[in-house]
């Protein structure tokens, strides 16, 4: 296989010198003179009516500036949500609370300690009501999550996509008919894909500063979507977007949890306007569990019908997904992203239906992978069970059922989506060969002979990223709710400055992905301007073109492509100028090493600084050429991109303790062409850690009354260095045909691939004892219990 990297260079990150010396500035590091601090009074009940709020003691405290309740902010309306299905969140509780941790009042004071003390002094009287916490209970509509809801089941996502209900029913009937064949087995399992807390190490933080003279806001927020936040603030305060500047400075991880407009962001802006001073709020780790979105939370039954020799006849997934109490940015749309990849890499009749169910818990929304890890988890677990049932190797079963490479490009998935490019069999074969799968199996046999419980897990995945095609805007992939009814375009500005350096301005707001480095590589490759002479700016809505944000593994494929195109157009113009200066023909101009050269005449060249200086002296330009050297491109791809891959894990289970140790974890990912392999690796590593974290450790646990029992890092153990293995990575390269660089995206692949790979491995280790399935997280106690149960 060949590597066809367009750029492919390992370049140390531009971002790092500041970050390793402590000079990068996150929101909480920025101080404004006279700034005030906000703190929230939060509900201890999952469901209650509020009978009174008494802030008098708090207001009497020294240094307290204000205590706000819903009466102060009701006029602003509820928190805007991009997909407003379900109950919308009032900015502060309006007569009732619907989850533990819901904000009831906001205190603003001179310092952080005083604000917290005053929040504790606000007396709220509640009349508790019955809460619904679990999915099945809620779906029964026995008790409503919120009086305003007609049903706790907010909507359903069913597929194949694009079909009428009766056509979908026909697909289902076809699969049901298959179940009756006498040459098939039917394998079915209900499984939980547990709720997770994203845990960015930087808690969310926001600082707002209202300027009365301009009637405008400056807002610094730890957000993945600065433009959407600016649009939301403008919309809620009835201002034009030009009156709101949002800056996302360094952002300490996001993973989807900062892909939301939050009520606290709107409220500090409100308080700043009201008090005439900057107001900030920084989330505490303790409140983050309930004040920031969570992810996952599905209970569903996967059913697979297949022949005894490994041909899949049909696949069904039916279940419930937890939305929490209020719908925020994308909430109910998350399972839709699962539908996109619901049939994975396989060609098989597929029926898919997930109901979006409200509960009296924190809101759920996008957490790394967002719907796709859930969908792939169910599919890859049930395929594994099927392989075991018919006694075939799991690799062989997968191989037999892949969408054939010949159907690409633009293969239509069984669930009705056009996929760009793919070569699944080649990728899986590469995984098996590169890591010597047969050798792994031999090692497993040897270990088993010694009485060790060693298992091997295999899983394949597709991802879909860059939800950018303009047509998707009609399905809600837009920031229309925030006053920005645009498609999810990519955007990039490339400007060559008069001294021959280049400034690149992008509308995304990264949170650790290294955009400054990758984008400088893209532009350097296009223009031949040295990497170190290119400066990439992002995250500031005042200086950047409208941008969508950093999520859905979209930045390189969508915004990178926009920048690539912008640089190409700048190059075209520069070639004209260079040709004029060198008295050569435009077609012969090539750019490299900081200069334009005439192909074939090594002595004939002009440095970028000279081209640029002429560009800004219009009288020296060729006739009819406009001054300046700058382009802004808005880019809309024809399709999303569909990366894919297969992963292998080897684990050992200690049957006495239930402890799982990952002995090896090996990947064969395919994200198309790669711009910076070092950064791509890093994205995979981090994604794997989050997938493995879900498989083995993490779970947001609510008790019957709706209390979050795992809100601290003690109760919610994200993996440490000692919990994780060294990862083995390799790749195949199947470029996409929908963008010029051939890049697909990599931000979520590791997470989408990992959880089921680990669970498959653990079940493989324990299958000789009769264990068939264990729900995640596979903590020692649960694994130990499963072993006891299997042994009877």
């Amino acid at each position: 296989m060949s590597t066809t990297s367009v750029l492919g260079g390992i370049v140390r990150r531009r971002e790092d010198p500041a970050l390793i010396q402590g000079t990068g500035a996150y929101v909480d590091d920025i101080k404004l003179p006279g700034e005030l601090h906000a703190a929230f009074v939060r509900s201890p009940f999952a469901r209650a009516d509020i009978t009174s709020v008494d802030a008098s003691a708090a207001l009497a405290m020294d240094g307290v500036r204000a205590v706000y309740t819903i009466d102060d902010v009701r006029d602003l309306g509820p928190l805007l949500a991009q997909v407003p299905v379900g109950a919308l969140r009032p900015l502060l509780a309006d007569g009732a609370v619907h989850h533990v941790g819901e904000a009831v009042a906001m205190v603003v004071a001179d310092d952080r300690y005083v604000a917290q003390d005053a929040a504790d002094a606000v007396v709220v009287e509640y009349e508790p009501r019955e809460a619904v916490v679990t999915l099945k209970d809620s779906a029964s509509d026995r008790v409503k999550v919120n009086d305003s809801l007609e049903s706790n089941v907010l909507m359903s996502w069913a597929g194949p996509f694009g079909m009428e209900p009766d056509q979908i029913a026909e697909v289902k009937a076809g699969i049901d008919a298959g179940k009756a064949r006498d040459d098939v087995v039917v394998v079915s399992q209900e499984m939980t894909n547990q709720r997770l807390i994203p845990v960015a190490i930087e808690p969310r933080a926001v600082l707002a500063d209202y300027n009365a003279g301009y009637n405008s806001f400056n807002v610094w927020s730890s957000t993945q979507m600065p433009h959407a936040l600016a649009g939301a603030v403008a919309t809620m305060f009835g201002l034009p977007t030009t009156s709101v500047r949002v800056v996302a400075p360094e952002v300490g991880g996001g993973f989807g949890c900062k892909l939301n407009v939050y009520n606290d962001e709107i409220l500090v802006a409100f308080a700043s306007r009201h008090l005439g001073a900057p107001v900030r709020w920084t989330e505490s780790r303790r409140e983050a569990g309930n004040s920031t979105i969570q992810g996952r939370g599905w209970v569903a039954t996967a059913t697979l019908v297949g022949t005894r020799d490994g041909e899949i006849v049909g696949y069904e997934l039916e279940g419930l997904a937890d939305m929490g109490a209020y719908s925020q940015n994308f909430t109910v749309a998350i399972p839709f992203l699962g539908l996109f990849v619901g049939s994975g890499q396989y060609k098989m009749p597929t029926y898919w239906k997930i109901d979006c169910v409200a509960t009296n818990t924190a809101t759920t929304d996008a957490y790394r992978g967002a719907g796709r890890p859930e969908a792939i988890y169910y599919l890859e677990r049930i395929i594994d069970m099927y392989a075991r049932e018919i006694g075939l190797d799991p690799a062989e079963v997968r191989m037999k059922n892949f969408v054939p490479a010949a159907e690409f490009p633009a293969a239509t998935s069984p669930l009705g989506f056009a996929m760009d490019t793919g070569d699944y069999a080649t990728n899986l074969q590469a995984l098996l060969d590169h890591y010597d799968y047969a050798g792994w199996r031999a090692e497993q046999e040897a270990a088993r002979a010694e009485g060790r419980n060693v298992g091997i897990g295999l899983a394949s995945y597709v991802e879909v990223c860059g939800f950018a095609p303009a047509g998707l805007a009609d399905l809600g992939f837009s920031w229309s709710a925030y006053g920005l009814p645009t498609a999810f375009n990519g955007s990039g500005v490339v400007r060559v400055n008069p001294d021959g350096t280049a400034t690149v301005v992008i509308g995304t707001g990264p949170s650790g992905q290294g955009h400054q480095t990758t984008w400088a590589q893209i532009v350097s490759d296009q223009l031949g301007i040295p990497f170190e002479n290119i400066r990439v700016r992002h995250g500031d809505t005042a200086e950047s073109p409208m941008g969508v944000g950093t999520f859905g593994s979209r930045s390189a494929a969508v915004d990178g492509s926009a920048t690539y195109e912008a640089a190409a157009r700048v190059r075209e113009k520069a070639a004209k100028i260079a040709a004029h200066l060198l008295e050569a023909s435009e077609e012969d101009i090539v750019f490299a090493d900081g200069a334009a050269h005439v192909a074939g005449s090594p002595d004939s060249s002009v440095p970028w600084a000279d081209i640029a200086s002429v560009a800004y002296q219009p009288h020296k330009l060729p006739e009819g050429t406009e001054g300046g050297l700058e382009t802004h491109v808005v880019y809309s791809p024809a399709n999303a991109t569909w990366p894919f891959g297969s992963h292998l894990a080897m684990v050992e289970v200690d049957a006495d303790t239930g402890n799982v140790e990952i002995l090896r974890y090996a990947c064969m990912d395919d994200c198309g062409n790669v711009i910076n392999p070092m950064i791509v690796d890093g994205q995979i590593h981090g994604g794997l850690a989050q997938g493995i974290g879900q498989a083995l450790f993490e779970e947001a646990i609510y008790d019957e009354a709706g209390n979050l029992l795992s809100g601290s890092l003690v109760d919610y153990p994200i993996p440490t260095a000692g919990d994780l293995p060294a990862y083995e990575l390799a790749r195949t390269t199947t470029p996409t045909d929908i963008n010029a660089m051939g890049v697909k995206g990599i931000g979520e692949a590791g997470t989408i691939g990992a959880a089921q790979t680990v669970v498959n491995a653990v079940v493989d280790a324990l299958s000789p004892m009769g264990v068939r399935h264990i729900d995640m997280p596979l903590r020692p106690r649960k694994v130990w219990q499963a072993i006891q149960d299997a042994r009877g």
């Binding site: 970050l19 360094e250 890093g682 000692g722 994780l724």
Partner: protein
């Protein structure tokens, strides 16, 4: 209460409340914002600094307890513009993404290498268990520490293990 301490080789005095945490003294009063806060409860390690040469989570220590101490934060690690080998290792081996855990992680790694100049991968992983990172999956943090360890021992660092094409 008036306290005097040395921070990054400079003598400083401050009047602090008894309940002021060391991390807040560093961040809010001395404006050394490279030391981060991720949990304020001693679990994430983002606030790790050196107190008299030992790695300490500065959210678990009161400012008054640091009276008379010699403190080094991430801002004081490089000397005369030269990065510490651990800082260099993090840069060379992509040991950071968002950078939020990084100052604390680097301070812990420096302490780890001070105590054990040639740690195994396992020793590095367990030695850094008090520092959480959500971005890197730790792989490249381990490689960064290996790089730094080699440098500090005067050896050639192991080559990077970036992904290969099959």
């Amino acid at each position: 209460m008036e306290i005097t301490l040395k921070v990054n080789r400079r003598e400083v005095s401050a009047d602090v409340e008894p309940r002021t945490l060391l991390v807040h003294l560093l961040r809010e009063r001395l404006r050394l914002t490279g030391t981060h806060v991720g949990c304020e409860t001693g679990y994430c390690g983002a606030c790790t600094v050196h107190v008299n040469g030992t790695a300490v989570k500065s959210c678990t220590m009161l400012a008054v307890q640091a009276d008379g101490a010699d403190i080094t934060t991430i801002e004081g690690l490089a000397s005369n513009g030269d990065l510490h080998p651990v800082q260099e290792g993090f840069w060379e081996r992509h040991g950071l993404q968002c950078g939020y855990c990084t100052p604390g992680m680097i301070m812990s790694a420096v302490a780890l290498l001070d105590a054990n100049s040639n740690p195994s991968e396992d020793e590095i992983r367990h030695g850094l268990e008090g520092n959480l990172c959500r971005c890197t999956g730790y792989h490249n943090i381990v490689r960064a520490v290996e790089y730094a360890g080699a440098k500090m021992r005067g050896e050639e660092p192991p080559p990077p293990d970036w992904e290969v094409s099959a």
